[in-house]
């Protein structure tokens, strides 16, 4: 079953979060008849339970549908769904590289947002043909004319004739389908050239091993072929090839140039099939790999511990299983005096961290204690050695440190002028350096800042939202490491150093953060039978102190016949509460206290 390339369209949908990307994808699938309405779950592409609940797309996926165009011809659509969040930028870029065109969805009430721009630039970098659609025209506040103008002014692509649609209400979807056929170019691969495929995703299946999602650029691949992964250097024999039905894999005889599909080859480890890698034929290799491969490194680290120390092996198993499907998750064992055995885990960003910890708790039924997330610091020691520091406790003694570096990102923030002042001061508070400021239209500004990553991983999103009443959007990419004055804040509770609470801060913020940390911990730690001093120290010198006063009274005034059951339940609750705490010295510390540093800026 060989489909001529000129009847294939490989494309993706790009949008700012909540502008309606997944809904449009659903409508396209519906209209192309591959799914009956009965089969439609609300959002078929987002098939993990968690994705549906959070309303975001975590892993990129692809689906193939058949469309009969108005010209009477049938076309194969390969729709590649891309994650919409900054944490998964690299995955987005690989998904884009597998496409020839991109539908740009813009909310016709909200207009262009930071991620709209970031995604458009990314699509342009990959030479994708882009056409815009104006979504949510059924909203009372929709203003498609204004937004069309904005797209033309800001992005410089033609938008006056862009389909006006409502993906939710199913308005204008036919126009979109025709545009896909007419506007997007067909693949132009060479069928007879050596095999050249791009891996844009992969997942682990317990029966088939790793399933590699790829786009064939040149040549063809079929079961029995020996294939070679150019970046990892591994060679395997193909067991199965196929394409993507909605939510399932459909095997076929061969994947040829221009097609999007999957292969399996009894591969046991996901790390062998890295996103962005080029797959070729081992016996007839292509001359050079596709450009743009890079290994993704975790940007954010934190300690993950089982709340019940006995469940350490379960946590290890769960992490191993998750890693099978998420090569960007890294972990290695670590030990904390306060928390016992656990893992230092690396994530692409905070959202990634949230998703993983939530999946651990939900799918693996683990209760976790996580420590404050931190970035990777470079510590240059006086002896010339350079350490990549992921755990603050491992910071060498200051006498051994020559200097330290921290990661800096370049960020783009789109904000309405009304909130410009407060967003600029937010960026300044976070040690941002302004690198640009452009008026998109009279009322909206694109701010460009270089920001230290450790200033944005905690609560930057929240602060941005609250200070702009939700009218600011944000996107960033890693820029560089820069030298910085950093110190480690240590926390002592009842005179005992609690390793899991240490964190690294910019020297000038140490006093402020230290005081806030003490105050926060004072709220979190319940009163005990004795007084508990809470201290913050830098290099052994105490810089802030608070005291949790001793409990004076904790007694049930009344307990007669009718009260027994209820009072007993109260005591049981108290006991359960105690179980959920970590004992350090003789102080019970609630697990959420270990995340206190994240909440230092709460009002």
């Amino acid at each position: 079953m060989n489909i001529p390339q000129n009847h294939i369209r490989n494309f993706c949908i790009i949008a700012h979060i909540d502008h309606g990307k997944s809904t449009l994808a659903d409508r396209i699938l519906e209209k192309t008849g591959l799914l009956t309405e009965r089969e439609m779950q609300d959002q078929v592409l987002d098939n993990m339970e968690l994705e549906r609940e959070r309303g975001i797309t975590i892993k990129s996926q692809a689906v193939r549908t058949v469309y009969r165009a108005k010209n009477g011809e049938e076309y194969i659509f390969n729709l590649i769904d891309t994650p919409g969040h900054v944490d998964f930028n690299y995955e987005v870029s690989r998904s884009l590289a597998a496409c020839d065109g991109a539908i740009l969805v813009v909310d016709s009430a909200q207009g262009i947002e930071a991620q709209t721009l970031a995604n458009v630039y990314l699509a342009l970098e990959h030479d994708l043909e882009i056409f815009p659609v104006l979504n949510k025209i059924d909203l009372p506040s929709a203003d498609p004319e204004r937004v069309a103008n904005e797209i033309e002014d800001v992005i410089g692509i033609e938008a006056m004739d862009a389909p006006r649609i409502s993906a939710k209400a199913g308005i204008g979807i036919d126009d979109v389908l025709e545009e896909i056929v007419n506007r997007f170019p067909a693949p132009k691969g060479m069928e007879t050239a050596p095999l050249k495929c791009l891996i844009f995703d992969s997942l682990y299946d317990p029966y088939k091993g790793v399933i590699v999602f790829l786009r064939v650029f040149d040549g063809s691949v079929k079961p029995g072929d020996r294939i070679h992964f150019m970046a990892t250097g591994k060679t395997e024999e193909v067991v199965e090839v196929g394409y993507f039905g909605a939510g399932r894999f459909i095997a076929c005889d061969e994947l040829s140039s221009g097609m999007v599909g999957y292969i399996t080859a009894s591969i046991k480890e996901l790390s062998q099939t890295r996103v962005g890698d080029t797959v070729t034929n081992a016996d007839n290799p292509c001359k050079e790999a596709l450009p743009g491969y890079k290994k993704v490194n975790p940007m954010v680290y934190c300690g993950v511990y089982p709340a019940d120390t006995k469940r350490y092996p379960d946590l290890r198993d769960a992490l191993e299983k998750l890693q099978l499907n998420d090569a960007s998750l890294s972990f290695e064992p670590e030990t904390s005096v306060a928390l016992g055995f656990g893992f230092r885990c690396g994530f692409l960003g905070l959202l990634h961290l949230d998703i993983i910890t939530e999946r651990l708790e939900r799918e693996y039924n683990l209760e976790l204690v996580t420590t404050a997330p931190g970035v990777v610091y470079r510590v240059h020691k006086t002896d010339g050695e350079v350490i990549e520091l992921t755990n603050p406790s491992n910071l060498p003694d200051s006498s051994e440190i020559d200097y330290m570096e921290e990661p800096v990102v370049s960020a783009q923030i789109m904000v309405s002028t009304e909130f410009l002042g407060s967003i600029i001061s937010l960026c300044q508070e976070r040690r941002g350096v302004q690198t640009g400021m452009e008026y998109m239209e009279e009322t909206r500004v694109l701010l460009k800042y270089d920001l230290p990553l450790n200033e944005i991983i905690y609560d930057f999103f929240d602060a941005l939202k609250s200070r702009s009443k939700g009218y600011a959007s944000f996107d960033y990419e890693m820029k560089e490491y820069v030298r910085s004055e950093l110190v480690k804040l240590d926390i002592l509770i009842n005179k005992e150093y609690v390793d899991a609470l240490s964190f690294i801060v910019f020297r000038d913020s140490a006093y402020e953060r230290g005081s806030k940390m003490c105050a926060k911990l004072k709220e979190e730690i319940p009163r005990h039978l004795f007084e508990i001093p809470i201290q913050t120290a830098v290099g052994g010198r105490i810089i802030a102190r608070e005291t949790v006063k001793a409990v004076r009274k904790d007694v049930l005034a009344k307990c007669y016949g009718g009260d027994v059951s209820r009072k007993k339940k109260l005591l049981e609750k108290q006991k359960e509460g105690k179980k959920k705490m970590r004992e350090i010295g003789n102080v019970q510390i609630p697990q959420k206290a270990f995340l206190s540093v994240l909440k230092l800026d709460d009002e």
């Binding site: 004076r552 904790d554 005034a557 027994v564 059951s565 109260l570 049981e572 105690k578």
Partner: protein
């Protein structure tokens, strides 16, 4: 023959107080009548249990048992005694609220054999009473107290409360001293607890102008001291009495002796069965069969922990011998580590075959007791 105590719950009030989480409220006369019918049937239904045992005490609690006509109480007492044996010196208590009783009622009660009167006063300060949502003023209390004494009541308890909105130590001391001046046999002092579902709870501690923790502790210490000086011994967390006037009925709960409760929300424990009637006046009244909030058989470990949780409320604590003869094992075997820990922290004390709280231990008893559940 085994002994048993009887509790009767009468949920009727002129108006529900803002802090009260007992089953109580303002019910119409027809509800009161139907409720009485239902209680009498319940007593009749439980007659086999009572016939087996000697009734050691009867307690009318509420609500406001002194609100309905005394004939109400008399028909219940008659039903309880009918065909059953009342211990010779049985303690029969009725709770009363100032502002709900006249001389006629008091005389009736005494005639019925009621020999202990428990007055819900809470405070002698008018503002505090208002804050609590009480219907009476200090004079109503003095009038009632005088009525009782004049007619020969010889065992009176007065309930006081600490931690009332706006309460100051000076104010609390005035309340206490004016009560002591009347020389009741028994004084109970409860600290105000914001219980879920009450208007106080809804309003939130921060909006109530409650005395802060230090002030309340000062009030409690002062209370203990003054009561001791005046010959009131503390025998339970919140209860003080002149020698020999400890409430025998309430001790039943803390000594884990059998009791049976009649009326909506009333609890019973007979042997290792503990059950609570449904906590709803209408449902209780309407049903012909007993409806329970809960009905459970305590297993040995629950039984043991209950023995300790209840027993340690008494200043005398629990007897190690009593424990081992009840459960066939030593207390130390079961709870050795908890006891050792809190003895070490000066909260528990073992002496002459008994385990009991120190004064500090009593103040923070929940922390210790949660180690026994």
């Amino acid at each position: 023959m085994n002994e048993i105590s009887v509790y009767v719950h009468l949920p009727f009030c002129v108006k529900k107080c803002a802090y009260c989480d007992f089953l109580s409220g303002d019910y119409g006369d027809d509800v009161k009548r139907a409720y009485l019918d239902r209680i009498l049937r319940e007593i009749d239904h439980c007659s086999p249990v009572l016939s087996d045992r000697i009734i050691r005490s009867v307690y009318f609690g509420g609500g406001t048992p002194s609100l309905p006509d005394p004939s109400y109480i008399s028909s219940i007492i008659r039903a309880v005694m009918d065909g059953h044996i009342l211990k010779k010196d049985a303690e029969i208590t009725i709770e009363m609220n100032p502002g709900t009783t006249d001389e006629k009622k008091v005389r009736e009660y005494l005639k019925l054999g009621i020999n202990r009167f428990s007055i819900g006063l809470q405070s002698m300060d008018e503002n505090e009473l208002k804050a609590l949502g009480r219907i009476h003023d200090p004079d109503d209390f003095l009038y009632l107290y005088d009525l009782l004494r004049k007619n020969g009541a010889s065992n009176i308890n007065v309930d006081l409360m600490t931690g009332i909105p706006h309460q100051t130590p000076a104010c609390a001391q005035r309340s206490l001293e004016s009560v002591i001046a009347l020389a009741p046999e028994h004084i109970a002092v409860y600290s105000l607890i914001l219980e879920e579902g009450t208007p106080f709870y809804e309003k939130g501690a921060e909006n109530l102008d409650l005395p802060d923790e230090d002030t309340e502790e000062e009030i409690c210490e002062m209370t203990r001291l003054i009561l001791a000086e005046n010959g009131y011994g503390r025998y339970e967390i919140s209860n003080y009495a002149k020698k020999g006037y400890e409430c025998r009925h309430n001790l039943v709960y803390w000594d884990l002796l059998d009791y049976i409760g009649f009326g909506a929300s009333a609890a019973s424990r007979i042997g290792n069965r503990r059950y609570t009637n449904i906590r709803n006046v209408e449902a209780y009244t309407a049903s012909e069969v007993p409806l329970f909030e809960e009905d459970l058989l305590l297993d040995e470990s629950e039984w043991m922990s209950e023995f300790i949780i209840m027993g340690l409320r008494k200043t005398a604590g629990i007897s190690l011998l009593d424990f081992s003869s009840r459960f066939g094992k030593e207390l130390e075997e079961v709870y050795g580590d908890v006891i050792e820990r809190y003895e070490g922290e000066g909260l528990l004390k073992k002496q002459e075959g008994r385990l009991f709280f120190t004064e500090r231990g009593m103040d923070v008893s929940n922390i210790v007791l949660s180690g026994f559940v």
